[in-house]
Amino acid sequence: MGTVQLSNVRKFYGALEVIKGIDLTVEAGELVVFVGPSGCGKSTLLRMIAGLEDVDYGRVEIAGKDVTDAPPAQRGVAMVFQNYALYPHMTAYDNLAYGLRRAGLRRDAVDQRVQETAALLQISELLPRKPKAMSGGQRQRVAIGRAIVRKPEVFLFDEPLSNLDAALRVEMRSQIARLHQELAATMIFVTHDQVEAMTLADRIVVLNAGRVEQIGTPREVYHSPANLFVAGFIGSPAMNLLPATLGPSGVALVSGHVLGGQKGEGEAVTLGVRPDRLTLTSAESAHLSGEAKLIEHLGDETILHLRLADGGALTMKLHGDILLKIGARVHARIDLAGACLFGANGRALRLEGAHETKA
């Protein structure tokens, strides 16, 4: 299994720069997830690695070889597409066998590889069927089989689960995780679904507007976002971003409450607090108070959307089924141990008193 190294890769559509100089190394056997909002360039970057998009500047190396100008089939990559992209006129067997046959493998060797792969993915009974006689989940398993059967250096997944229903997505996600372990394969996975990113990734690459915002383990990205974009993008419900200042006694909220921690001389900062780091409290000990505007009962937890006195919004994630009425006055207390601090430039500041997170 090979490494993937991107050195200052850039891509233009006409005058528009869509990939703005990305450096990235994916280690052998690692599963890296590209995540970001629509149009951030994650799929384009994956397609540049696959050779389906030209690299305008920079270099792409796969398994130590410069493949920047190599055609897709000579890069040692296999790709699983969002819409499966199975050859519609071929049976599942022929879909798997096609690449091997064209590479000149003998008939019995092709058959052995196809049968082994089908057994691994439990799709043996689908082999005689054409794609139109399969469900979405079955098609995607065949598409994954077509990638595996070629034994590539690197697997590329372009939002492969987004066309599947929720239950199937969970099942396929765990199947991909299992394959990653069994094959010890290098995989790059593109998704806009954070749950997929968090559960599958060894490392997450958060992209925005053609740039890398942060590279890190799921825990690092979640607990120590590098900037406001990552803080707002990763995590659902999203992190609360509260305007604050650094005063002589520590972080001070707009409401006047001083939380302690980092001291300063009145610099404007943003305090990031995950919704689950807020607790209900009494009016006297509250850091923030607001009116309940929306209450989502999820059974084991309750999501509370508040309108604060200063007009801002606050989301709380509370354990259990909390009985509250819309319009109720709610008092919240911030647990500074799980909070993040961002400077005026949007970059993360080290917050004294916040707990350290290690991957």
Partner: protein, 313 residues
């Protein structure tokens, strides 16, 4: 390939709402009605009338007189019928496949996404808008033995070009050559098929093999087989009906020495020169039966080589 006990394909497909389907079918028939009426009036009824006239002696003036199979017997012993049938068969057997291959090549070129692809597509389609008569006349001028630009160019290259239109050995080939132009509709049909191939399927093929011809033979061609079938059937029908170019170049006698005498020209001659409508109708009936049999044969083989995305025919 291993045979496993997979359930039949129909078993995994959702069952349709039959009642809604019936309502849709009624609406469908209503929408198609104008066309069905036109088809009945201008195709089906004339077809039956042709079958009838083929068994009569009918010279436009006066009533048709029943003669049974006499017209077919007359055809059987008519050398012009056999000569024209032979010419038409040679013409079709060469021009149809060559035309399909060139049209496919053009479509593959036009399918490449470049900044000018819209421009190129228009340029390639424009000649099709030119009437066949005008096109044939232009080619006659181009191919004039001494003063024609084609022969002047060939002679300048040291070649000894034939008298394209008057040499009995060359004239049929010239007609075949002319039939290759223009290729508008065939190219357009292929282009439509090529553009219908999902981009990711094409990209998956790029990832599976670096060789372009692999993708052409195993992925692209199978996916446009419905268009190949369409162009093949239409091409055969048109080639059997070749008329305009043949009559402009060879007149009603198939000059030179009946080399360009085509079936439809003989049919036309029988009907509107000799006013022998019975014989002409018999020729039309024979042509209809031959084309029908050929088409049915092609459709029968099509099951094994044509891939339909929506389901088999």
């Amino acid at each position: 390939m291993p045979i496993t006990s997979a359930p039949p394909e129909a078993a995994v497909l959702p069952r349709r709402n039959r009642k809604a389907e019936r309502g849709e079918a009624r609406a469908g028939v209503l929408f198609a009605l104008p066309w069905i009426i036109g088809m009945t009036l201008f195709v089906a009824i004339p077809l039956v009338v042709t079958f009838y006239i083929a068994q009569t002696k009918f010279q436009i003036i006066g009533a048709p007189k029943w003669v049974g199979m006499q017209n077919y017997e007359a055809l059987w012993s008519d050398p012009a019928f056999w000569k024209s049938a032979q010419n038409t068969l040679i013409f079709g057997a060469i021009s149809v496949p060559v035309k399909l291959i060139i049209a496919l090549g053009l479509a593959l070129l036009l399918n490449r996404a470049t900044a000018l692809s819209g421009f190129y597509r228009t340029i390639f389609y424009l000649p099709f808008l030119m009437p066949a008569v005008a096109g044939s006349v232009v080619f006659m001028l181009l191919l004039t033995p001494n003063a024609g630009p084609v022969n002047i160019a060939l002679e300048a290259m040291g070649l000894n070009p034939p008298d394209w239109l008057l040499d009995p050995n060359a004239a049929l080939w010239t007609l075949i050559l002319l039939s290759l132009w223009p290729l508008g509709v065939e190219t357009l049909v292929f282009l439509g098929g090529l553009q219908n191939i999902p981009k990711d399927v094409s990209e998956a093929a790029d990832l599976d093999s670096p060789k372009r011809w692999h993708k052409l033979v195993w992925i692209t061609l199978p996916l446009i087989t419905p268009m190949v079938l369409f162009n093949l059937v239409i091409g055969i029908i048109y080639s059997f009906q070749v008329f305009t170019q043949a009559i402009v170049i060879g007149g009603t006698t198939g000059t030179p020495a009946e080399a360009t005498l085509m079936y439809m020209v003989v049919l036309y001659r029988a009907a509107f020169r000799y006013f022998n409508m019975g014989l002409a109708a018999a020729m039309a009936t024979v042509l209809f039966v031959v084309v029908l049999i050929l088409t049915l044969l092609i459709f029968k083989t099509a099951r094994s080589w044509v891939h339909y995305e929506g389901g088999e025919i």
